[in-house]
Each structure stands twice: as structure tokens, then as C-alpha cells.
Symmetry: C2
DNA sequence: ATCCAGGTATGATGTAAATCGTACCTCTGG
DNA sequence: CCAGAGGTACGATTTACATCATACCTGGAT
């Protein structure tokens, strides 16, 4: 079902996995940030200000990717993250709006610059 | 925040708890059944055909109640369950439609009679 | 009064999830 | 070429969750 990089096809996305992914405040925050940015925004994993270690960050992005919420592109160094907006809207209309409606997933400013801080922690 | 029976107020509902509750296929099924029935449908906990023990069933209904998805009324014996449809729609518009859009949470017929079977298991 | 059906409460148990440290890989910039 | 930044992989730990069995409570039917 998933492609080589672990992205499920739209028709294989599961609501259970989506909900499980969005149940975590950190992951929900990532989606919120991507969702409230302009079209096709692309950012690196470390640019979300997640208060966890690198290893844990990778873990969270994997969950998001495997649920189908984001599409990741390997740049060798760095990895770009993009919300799968249209696909999600087609398969689960209203999902993204809902995540946005949930209010800040309490961690930081959000739409404003979640600047990439050094790898503290 | 919650009232005496453990129901959160609309304004206290949290998207995280909602998503966590709906991540489980059994609980999602309960919500689907309630959602696709007519207005203000009320059913007992054992009428959903959940393939788990009584204790586990109680557990799942507690999660649903504390997330704000259902409202339970104690009847002494038995306990009626009702989807908090309008309140949910006001707070998280599109949520219910989304759960329905997710397709059958693979367990049984669904909208058709999930008849109350004897307490096997 | 009894019994039973529907639920809750309380542990116990097994599995899954979040977290981290460390080691490693891949590009880019001196 | 070497150092460093961005990530992944692996193993360990700790916590949360789904599950059950058992004991108990409440109201309706017999």
C-alpha cells in the first residue's frame, strides 16, 4: 500500500490512523502549522519548535507520514514536509478545517514564525 | 469541568481527547451507529454488538463520555447513550460527517440492527 | 424476597506508544 | 577533505491503554 517512502495512497488512508496521529498534541501542532500556512508550504522537520529530541521528532513525523497527513521528500540532508492538502480534502473533507478549529495545540505561537531553534534537548 | 456524571461542557471539549476517543475502531463504531441513526437516538451500552467483555465496554463508553462525544443517562439498571450531536456540531463542525465518511469501522453491519446479543465473551 | 440483566469498580496483565541516548548516514560549506 | 547540520535506525525505558475476571450495585420481573 505505501510507496517506497512510506506514503499511503489516498484510497488507503485510514481514519483510525489519522485520528491516532492527530490525537497527539505535537503532531496536531505540526499539521496546524502546515495547514494555516499558504499553499504547498514546505518546511524542515526541525522548524516546528517541537520540544523533543531529534529521535522523537523523527518518530512523530513518521506517524504523520504513514497516516497520510504529510508528504516528505528526502533532500539528502534535511527533509521537506508538505501537507497533503488536496488529497486529504478529497478523502476526508473538513478534516483540515477541523484540526484548525481545535485551537492551538498548546506549545507555541503557531502560525507565526516557529523558528528553527538549535537542537536544545 | 465535567458535570457530576462526567460530561464535559461544550467549551471544555478538547480535540485531543476527541481524536483519541475516535482512534479506537470500537468507539468509532459506536459513534457511527449513533450518528447514522435518526435524531436523538438512545440505546443501551450492550446494543452495539461490541466484541468485548462488559468491563471493557464500560471502559470504552467512559472514554466516549469524557471526551464529550456521548451523553449518558443512568437508568439505575441500564444506561442510555445519546450522541451529543448539536453540541459537537457547534464546537467541531464537520466532525460527525467525518466519522461517517470514514466508512464502517469494521466490526458488523452498522446502521442496520446491531441487536443486543447475550453477553457472550 | 429473589433473581437476573445491565453497568460500574478494582485489580492484573499484555501490548503499544512516547521518550531518550547513541551510533550512523547524507549532503553543504569552509 | 573535514566538520557540522538535518535525519534515521536501533535499543532501552517508562508510561499509557485495551483487555479480562471478579466482586459488587441497582431496578424490574417473577
Amino acid at each position: 500500500m505505501p510507496d517506497a517512502e512510506g506514503h499511503p495512497f489516498v484510497e488507503d488512508m485510514e481514519l483510525g490512523a489519522i485520528f491516532a496521529a492527530l490525537a497527539d498534541p505535537l503532531r496536531r501542532r505540526v499539521v496546524q502549522i502546515l495547514a494555516c500556512e499558504a499553499q504547498d508550504d514546505t518546511r524542515l522537520c526541525n522548524s516546528f519548535g517541537l520540544p523533543v529530541s531529534k529521535a522523537t521528532r523523527t518518530h512523530h513525523f513518521r506517524i504523520l507520514r504513514e497516516a497520510g497527513l504529510i508528504r516528505q521528500t528526502d533532500l539528502g540532508n534535511g527533509r521537506s514536509n508538505r501537507l497533503r492538502r488536496e488529497e486529504l480534502e478529497a478523502r476526508f473533507p473538513g478534516l483540515i478545517a477541523l484540526v484548525l478549529a481545535g485551537g492551538e495545540a498548546a506549545v507555541a505561537p503557531l502560525c507565526v514564525s516557529a523558528s528553527a531553534e538549535p537542537d536544545t534537548r
